[in-house]
């Protein structure tokens, strides 16, 4: 059916087989963005001309009998902290207003080479600092399940765009949960790969020791397909390691229900405690019972070092960011103010006007943490604790194949309640931080609903163990259909197509009060 939102693999298969035109698919996506995104605010920029040109090239390849690539004609949205050649890249910050990168991030270049069609750039918390996408300098993105609620963040634009079926696939980035948490809050599947699995070249850094390029999609199969495209070593990023890339596209195409016999899943008690909402905890526990029913051995465990994750993470992320943000100085690109009044004025005025309050807060905090005695008592101490946390997780993952936890402690909260305070917002990240600090892969899959808002189950795996992780998620999604439920924005959008991938168009009750 023309205009249907298909999965990435269905779209690519149809285009590759000549059954669908990439240009038509792209036009449909652009129409849908035009119809729905004025309410959602997921996109900061839509590149209609570029997208149609890319789609045209794909169609020509198909017509010429050439291989158009594994993601041929798949409309993809890219988080605005990934460098896109010729397409504005702001990271949600005023300081990058007007900056047009001269180069593509490696992940973007690999998507393009695979035939994907980049339709636009998505909104985010400024520089990735935040978990609501409200901290964008330009606009707030709304949750497709309830326009009065946040989509999570910082990859909130990418998550909302997929959840609203504007595109089947998007790129995000995950430093301290920025893919998993919005995926959970928007009811989609989000993968944070192993640190080093996907090149960071062209990812505007927040904290280089933890930043990863992540994937947001309708299900684990599409994550697997897209991961194979973007993964692998890169001579432009020394941390992108030469680990073999698996046949995840093959896995994405495997049919039939899967068992989980023998899969050992550990539940760290520390990640089910306060401030995890009891209803969220119940939904996650129910999903784990279902996994047990499919053959997995699920048991609780104690990982006491994880309780330090929050403090360790915020020391490290602030310290790194305070240095990384120094390049935004008004000298070579982006916003420039006060340049007739000397270098000090240029810096002060450009950074003063260009950087938002949360960015400034972390620069100040990080600068302090790296100065004088704080370096030893905070920064070095945090590095040591990071090692302890990593070792504890690695040890646990020698006993278990996977660890499970909520992907976010609550469901998406209303805009008017999110300013509960910076510390409260930071605390919400704590379930996501252990995987970030240890550099291990983790994903979030929809596992139920609380008062109409989606809940995410987080699974964490061994370093470079994405296959195990994706297989478990895939098996769950074969058996349960939370990921197929459509948010109410689909029914409300004027003239928008409504079909889901499996014909399960029924929106879930509660909270859809638009």
């Amino acid at each position: 059916m023309a205009g249907d939102i298909m999965t990435a693999r269905e779209t690519a298969a149809a285009v590759r087989a000549g059954q669908a035109s990439a240009v038509e698919i792209t036009k449909a996506a652009l129409d849908r963005i035009g119809a729905l995104d004025k309410d959602l605010g997921a996109f900061l920029a839509v590149d209609e001309a570029g997208a149609l040109a890319a789609a045209e090239a794909v169609d020509q390849k198909v017509a010429a009998g050439e291989d158009p690539g594994p993601l041929a004609g798949v409309p993809v949205a890219v988080k605005d902290n990934l460098s896109t050649k010729g397409l504005a890249t702001t990271a949600g910050s005023n300081i990058l207003k007007g900056y047009i990168p001269p180069y593509d991030a490696t992940a973007v270049a690999r998507l393009r080479a695979a035939g994907a069609v980049i339709v636009g750039k998505t909104n985010m918390d400024e520089m990735g600092m935040g978990a609501t996408t409200v901290n964008s300098a330009f606009q707030a993105t709304k949750n497709p399940w309830d326009l009065d609620r946040v989509p999570g963040g910082s990859s909130g634009g990418s998550a909302a765009a997929v959840a609203a079926r504007l595109v089947p696939l998007s790129l995000g980035s995950d430093t301290g949960g920025s893919v998993r948490q919005p995926a959970a809050m928007c009811g989609i599947t989000g993968l944070r790969p192993t640190y080093g699995r996907v090149s960071r070249y062209g990812l505007l850094a927040l904290a280089g020791s933890m930043d990863t390029v992540g994937l947001l999609a309708l299900d684990a199969r599409d994550c697997a397909l897209a991961l194979q495209v973007v993964a692998g070593p890169d001579d432009r990023d020394a941390s992108a390691e030469a680990e073999p890339v698996g046949d995840w596209a093959g896995m994405a195409g495997e049919a039939g229900p899967k068992g989980l016999d023998g899969l050992r899943i550990g539940l760290p008690r520390q990640l089910f405690q306060e401030p995890v909402d009891p209803a969220v905890k119940a939904a996650v526990r129910e999903a784990l019972d279902q996994l047990a029913g499919m053959g997995a051995q699920v048991e609780e465990c104690d990982l006491p070092a994880l309780t330090y994750s929050l403090g360790v993470y915020y020391v490290l992320v602030s310290a790194e960011a305070s240095s990384t943000m120094s390049r935004y100085d008004g000298v070579r690109f982006g916003l420039r103010l006060g340049d007739q009044q000397g270098v000090a004025a240029l810096y002060e005025q450009s950074r003063g006007a260009g950087l938002g309050p949360e960015v400034k807060r972390r620069i100040l905090l990080g600068t302090h943490l790296l100065s004088g005695d704080q370096y030893e008592s905070y920064y070095m101490q945090a590095l040591r604790l990071r090692r302890v946390i990593k070792e504890e997780l690695e040890q646990a993952l020698s006993r278990y194949d996977l660890l499970a936890a909520p992907a976010a402690p609550t469901t998406a909260f209303p805009f008017d309640s999110w300013r509960a305070g910076t510390r409260a917002m930071y605390r919400g990240d704590f379930v996501a931080l252990p995987a970030s600090l240890a550099g291990i892969p983790a994903l979030s899959i929809p596992c139920g609903f609380v008062e109409g808002m989606p809940v995410g189950l987080q699974l964490m795996g061994r370093a470079y163990g994405e296959e195990t992780l994706l297989r478990a998620a895939l098996a769950y999604q074969e058996a349960f259909d939370h990921h197929r439920r459509l948010p109410p924005v689909n029914a409300a959008g004027a003239g928008a197509p409504t079909a889901g991938t499996a014909g399960d168009g029924g929106s879930h009750g509660g909270g859809e009060g638009q």
Binding site: N81, L82, S83, T89, A91, L96, Y99, P101, P102, Y103, A105, R200, Y201, G202, L203, L204, A205, A207, G208, S209, M210, D235, R236, D237, A238, S239, A319, E320, S322, S323, M325, S326, R327, Y328, D329, V331, R332, F333, D339, Q340, V343, Y347, T367, L370, S371, G372, Y375, Y379, L383
Partner: protein, 493 residues
Amino acid sequence: MSLRQDEDLTTLHQDGETPYELVIGLEVHVELKTESKVFCPCATTFGAPPNSQVCPVCLGLPGAVPVLNEGAVNQAIKAALALNCRIAPRLTFDRKNYFYPDLPKGYQISQYGLPVGSGGSITIEGPDGPKVIRINRAHLEEDTGKSIHDAVAGGSLLDFNRAGVPLLEIVSEPDIRSPEEAREYLTNLRDILAYAGVSDVRMEEGSLRVDTNVSVRPRGSDSMNPPTEVKNLNSFRSVVRALQYEGRRQWELLQRGEALTRETRHWDENAQVTVPSRAKDEAEGYRYLPEPDMPPYIITRERLEALKAQLPEPPQARRRRYMEELGLSAYDAGVLTAEKALADYFEECARLLGDAKTVANWVSTEILAYLGANNLTVDQLAVGPKELAHLLTMVKEGTLSGTMAKEVLADMLASGRTAEEVVEAKGLRQISDEGELAAIIRQVVEENPGPVADYKAGKEKALGALVGQVMRLTRGQANPQLANRLLREHLNS
């Protein structure tokens, strides 16, 4: 305080004459000679058009990350080895944070915790014989861009071609006690690095830069006063002058009971004085941070051994060998080893000829004079070691006299022709054929009865006049030794 401009500062510090001594440590930055920059593939050619050798990485564009260049690592390790340093088993980097427009990222990637080389040394000739100057560390870092302040009205221009060029910062211990020792240390350091082929070490192109830390104390004391850091030194001569000036200035302060403070000063080449630097005191520090964008870089034992094997014999060892094994004078050995290319030239030629002393003579006189007069380097010589050896073989075999050979060499150097071609063109072949010479000798004896009579009367000196006549008639081509013998035989018979 100020010093009188007309004082001759160079005479102030003859050893043993001043009541104080200097405590000097040197920080030397050298640009490593590599094809590409240290963290990106951009070229490093000196003098390219502004901003023509840049990319997202060295411009510090959003999202770009550094990747360590193997070639730069090899050069850094070779340099550190040549300076007798221990080599770190893995390379880690740190960010040195400060704001400056020609520093693209707002931090310089450097090595703080673990330098590539540590615990090295250079042995210099001190007033009391050889003296070891310890090297604390040698660390790898990236260069900054260049600010150009006077090119346009109302603003500055930035050239990032130099941003990301690999630098090795070599930090000595405060073991240097006089400006002369500082010069000796720098000369040795420059020769060692040039020899190792790791840097152009050209101060005028900025591929070698020197900062000094200097303090004074009463001679013989082991007290330490706060040092002054002196910057903007553009030649070894400036280094010596600035150190002399600082010693004098600080000592006068001390004599007046004023406290010395740690400060940064600027050498004013025109006024020949140091002045307080306007640069803000970096009391808040650089907030060093382990570089999170690059994993540790492992240096294997095999790689280290391979790099060791690539290092040439250092100049001091070569000098010793020339004296001990080739029997050269200390002077000749010093002259020939001053530059690696010259020493290589000499050795190759000596090997081909099988006579080191002869080659040493020719290279240290004729060749060096020619290079000096024409301001050329060894690799620009039109006459290679093989061609020179061939010419000297002709002298050895008697085909050419020494005087003729000098004329031939001059032509070869200027024209690039071979010895044979020059000899042929000039008709310079020495007459060593006895039959050919015999006829000329008969003619000389017939035409010069006077000297012949003198010789026969026992005046040995008269023979010289007759040989001279032979040379005149042959236009200098007769083999003088042969002419001498034949004349003697003819007159004695």
